[in-house]
């Protein structure tokens, strides 16, 4: 399994990537939505994208909309990982095509629970 971690904070990218690697993922990183799209257009193949909302150049909601508009990327699971915590913002992200939504701050266990919901936890990791 391969995941792309999209966040303008390198600290947060490192925290999310570390959690995913602990669950057996290979990880790539992008600093904003445009950077992530460039990597996908360049042929990067991923199963999961963890997407921050507020980022310079291209925000996470725009990225999610762009990915959902391209049938070639239909297989990618999109999870927002953001400090945006309002009810209405979660509704917006789901409407744009995000599959899951994790609010910062989160624990490693919370990432694992979400991936479990999405059927993305490697089999040998399951109880």
């Amino acid at each position: 399994m391969k995941a792309l971690v999209i966040d303008d904070s390198r600290t947060m990218r490192r925290i999310v990537a570390r959690a995913l690697e602990g669950l057996g993922f290979e990880t790539l990183q992008a600093e904003h939505g445009r950077d992530a799209l460039d990597q996908l257009e360049g042929g990067a193949e991923i199963d999961l994208a963890c997407v921050d909302w507020n980022m310079p150049v291209m925000d996470g909601l725009t990225f999610v909309t762009e990915v959902r508009a391209n049938p070639a990327w239909r297989g990618i699971t999109l999870m927002m990982v953001t400090t945006e915590a309002e009810h209405s913002q979660i509704v917006r992200a789901l409407a744009a095509g995000a599959h899951e939504y994790l609010i910062k701050p989160f624990t490693t266990d919370a990432i694992r629970d979400k991936l479990d919901l999405l059927g993305l936890v490697p089999v040998e990791e399951m109880a």
Partner: protein
């Protein structure tokens, strides 16, 4: 209407941020008890909020505490050097997460600016400090402030 943020809400947000992101457990960020020492070599991280309720979430701490915080967040060895970029990024991200959660207390969603880090806080026109929380993180002083621009000022033509 004037939306307010209560002291306990700020404390609860700060404690959740630290327990989940920094410490991996509750109870390591507590209200500071006793006299407040001067903060030497202070570092300030802040994020601005815009919307029905405009303001700023601010984190202030001494340089060595900020280094320690960055080390824990980035999972670095005690002997590892923390680069200036990592220090700024780590402190800014804590302010960002605290600010984002404060924003969610607003009656209607506003927007969150990108985080900044410096050695002094630039002025925010018309803002007043509405909450001031001196906290003890593993015995070290760390201050979280919330500044609010009163709506009456904003609405003047």
């Amino acid at each position: 209407m004037t939306a307010t943020v209560e002291h306990d809400q700020v404390l609860s947000i700060a404690q959740e941020v630290f327990s989940a992101m920094v410490d991996g457990d509750l109870g390591l960020l507590l209200p500071w008890e006793g006299d407040l020492p001067e903060i030497d070599d202070a570092l300030v991280a802040w994020v601005d909020l815009h919307g029905e309720w405009s303001g700023r979430a601010v984190l202030v701490t001494a340089g060595p505490t900020a280094l320690e915080l960055a080390r824990v967040l980035l999972d670095l060895d005690p002997r590892d050097e923390v680069s200036p970029d990592d220090l700024v990024d780590a402190l800014g991200e804590i302010a960002n997460v605290v600010g984002g959660n404060l924003k969610s207390l607003l009656p209607t969603p506003g927007t969150l600016g990108l985080p900044h880090v410096g050695d002094a806080l630039p002025p925010l026109d018309g803002a007043v400090r509405s909450q001031h929380l001196p906290l003890s993180w593993r015995g070290r002083l760390l201050v979280i402030d919330v500044w609010v621009t009163p709506l009456v000022l904003k609405e003047k033509p």
